[in-house]
Symmetry: C2
């Protein structure tokens, strides 16, 4: 199946305890596109960049068979820029600069071929923009995946609720799930969020892994333990990318395959954090990914039968 | 195999957002003893209580075939008492009162039959007392399991180090693992702690599950998601109890069986938190436990093969 991704493409400048970068390639759609290409999923990006966005980034994506026809270039504008500094624990960070630039004028153009995508991944953006993309599709995609954040809960609650009502799978972190639902218990939070629309609720817990809720079922995975997380930037976007790309590639939206997709996304994200930005993600193959998935399996597999005792 | 447990027996008065208790039965050895009896493990407790400790508690333990010959009664003394109030998130609590009472004079008496126990679980106590028990054994137990906490790191570091050097399995929470090792990364923390003595390092992460480290291997389990945790008191002790009881019952100290023991401990603890104190733990059977273990299995099992794509 085809995967259509709407999200930011940007410059990031990152500082971690282990080093710092100048402006490098960033943005949710970028991470998602590269992640999809590792699985050789048919993926198209819809985004907006300024005239300062280097051709080499487009070339890299095209070489990976990521369709970028839907990326608008506003020649006299500047690309979205984010700069941040991670604390020593890598779990928290300070934003040093956010320059929204051309993203403030983002009016997504969905190319004809992409209007028929069966899987739509709406990256973390203004819910009004997310809704507008949904309206531009020839027919409703078979699966709509939504990423969002607390900022939209604080500023555009009603539009966000409309968007969530149209969503099949929502990915959200634990604090945001609590804010969205008003429930501390993540089980109750997931139930309430599911009542807002999404059949599937994925709660990301960072270094503590992720939870997938569907009806009365739950799937929990720990994060892979990486001795040295180098740069957490893009981990959430990579997760969403691996998740959506696996679903589009397999065309199977069952709970069992959603579980697999969560594993694929987590394994993919565990690579992203090993180097700055998208560097590590660009290096890996499907075989690398399978290796890490097998490590996940080892990490979590057990047998217990008390009756033998 | 025989399991010998050294730890507190006490009164607790607990307040949670859902209710409060008067003085009820508490203490690490109590939870561990009851947990062991669910698995019908041959278990003996060594502890100290005051003349105020009700006979009915002893009767309950004896009825469960928990050997309490090693529990000293100081008739003119009072039992250890702890009182605490949990915050709304149930992850944090205020201690309202700690009356150490007879525990301050604790000089463990290990009955003859228990001096030959193959598995020794040293509950969270002054490491000098833990070491003294080890010296009272006829020969070194095949497996020494240690529970400890930050208080002993702050106050008796050198004795604690001696105790840890004699330990095979240490259970500790994430913050304590970081304090003990001086490492933020839990992988590095576990490596450093292992160099202090223990072959196996178990790091408890509360609502985020637990990690088991052995050589270069790791096993990770999420916590079971309980919609309504009612009272977290005793969860860690129950975990240690289920863990040690499974190992003693099976006599198998391989990594694979340590993984099973972690699951048994976690499943057991998931019952404890459903009611106040030991109430729920006293109700469950081995079949109940197996049911919850099967739920753990469902919660964490997945299959992914990218080559099929």
């Amino acid at each position: 199946m085809k995967l259509l991704v709407v999200g930011s493409m940007a410059f990031d400048a990152i500082e971690t305890p282990f080093g710092k970068t100048d402006k490098i390639l960033g943005g949710a759609a970028t991470y998602i596109g590269i992640a999809s290409s590792v699985l050789k999923t048919d993926v198209s990006l819809v985004s907006v960049v300024g005239g300062d966005f280097p051709q080499e980034y487009f070339d890299m994506l095209k070489n990976r068979h990521v369709n970028v026809e839907g990326v608008e270039i506003i020649c006299d504008g500047k690309s979205f820029f984010w700069s941040g500094k991670y604390h020593n624990d890598l779990n928290t960070r300070d934003t040093l600069a956010t320059e929204v630039n051309v993203l403030s004028q983002f009016d997504p153009k969905v190319p004809g071929h992409a209007q028929e995508a069966e899987v739509l991944l709406l990256g973390n953006l203004d819910p009004a923009i997310q809704l507008s993309v949904l309206k531009k599709m020839k027919k409703r995609p078979q699966l709509v995946i939504l990423d969002t954040m607390n900022f939209w809960m604080d500023t555009t609650w009603e539009t966000l609720m409309k968007m969530i009502a149209q969503t099949d799978v929502i990915t959200i972190n634990d604090e945001e799930a609590r804010q969205l639902s008003g429930e501390y218990s993540l089980v109750k939070a997931a139930q309430k969020i599911s009542q807002m629309g999404p059949k599937y609720v994925i709660i990301k817990k960072g270094e503590h892994g992720a939870l997938l809720f569907y009806e009365d079922k739950v799937f929990a995975i720990p994060a892979l333990l990486l001795e040295d997380v180098f740069d957490p930037t893009g981990a959430g976007d990579t997760f969403a990318g691996g998740f959506a790309a696996h679903l589009a590639k397999t065309g199977d939206f069952s709970f069992e395959n959603m579980k697999s997709a969560v594993i694929v996304g987590s394994a993919m994200a565990s690579y992203t954090v090993e180097k700055f930005g998208t560097e590590r993600l660009q290096e890996i193959t499907k075989d690398d990914l399978q290796k890490r998935i097998d490590e996940f399996k080892q990490l979590t597999t057990f047998e217990v039968s008390l009756n033998a005792e």
